[in-house]
Amino acid sequence: MAKSNEPIPWSLFSAGGMLSAILLPILIVITGILVPFGFAPLESLGFDRVHAAVSGNLLVKLILFGFIFLSFFHWAHRFRFALVDMGLRKIKGLIGFACYGSALAGTVITAALLWRI
């Protein structure tokens, strides 16, 4: 039986899943409940304030980059196996290429966008 390279996508998948599970509920509470229902001032999510927090702050950029790119790979791995399990076993090579390729493209775009802020 061949040794598998699966630990690479799986570790990105599990890191992304862990981060999403921890951080997404916080984001939902802030952007979906606290601010819209007036528990926090609207300006706290204003463009100028958020832009100033990211712009020129390498640490914030790095954290955002890690969170976003790992989430992409979490999606890619899950979507790949969901499609394969739904019966597209015959084209699983193509599915893997498309899923991880999309995640990689998203990662590059994220890096470029963050760099420009």
Binding site: M1, A2, K3, P7, F81, D85
Partner: protein, 249 residues
Amino acid sequence: MDKTMELEIFRYRPEQDSEPTFQTYEVPFHTEWVILDAVNYIKDEIDGTLSYRWSCRMGVCGSCGMMVNGVPKLTCAAFLKDYTGKIRIEPLEGFPVERDLIFSMDDFIAKLKSVKPWIIRKEGEDKPLEEGEYLQTPRQLVEYQQYTMCINCMLCYAACPVYAHDNTFLGPAAIALGQRYNMDSRDQGRDQRQEAIASHEGIWQCTFVGECSAVCPKDVDPAGAIQRAKVASTIDYFKELLLPWGKKS
């Protein structure tokens, strides 16, 4: 016979049936009866040609697993009183049927052997018998004890959608048993087991559906064992990649 129940049983006799059929039997209903009692009643009183496996009647031997209304169950632990209407009994899913409710276990047995489910000591590290047993603390026992409860009933294979799709998958029980020895402080054979466990056909086919743990009659939690093996194998993989000169653990 006061109250009765109907059992619809999968029949396949290769010498006379070109394909499987279902046969319905009426059996007496007793609140204390399990499905296996009803199937035994059929065999003894109604139709002696029905073939199936069973032995201990107390959830230890692991041989009476069947699909009951589509769910893998030990029939010695599934009570008639928990069902209403006709009960449908089929052989465990995912295995080739040989006759009636009997299926071939060859694939499972071969997979079980491939994970070497026994204590392996490194060359020259075997203690002579006179020196006594390998001692273990209660804490070391707790590490793997849960996985020793496996009775090889194969319900987890019948429940696993990954195995149903692709039976090259090593499967829940075999991986959990490999993990049982990997986590045993007396064992030194993890490297040898990794060949089967860390392969494509091993843990990496598992998509953590978790049905194996849901149907396990002994609460072994094979899904948990597989996730732990994934973490350990990932650590191995990156160690080997980043520290190729390092000694393999």
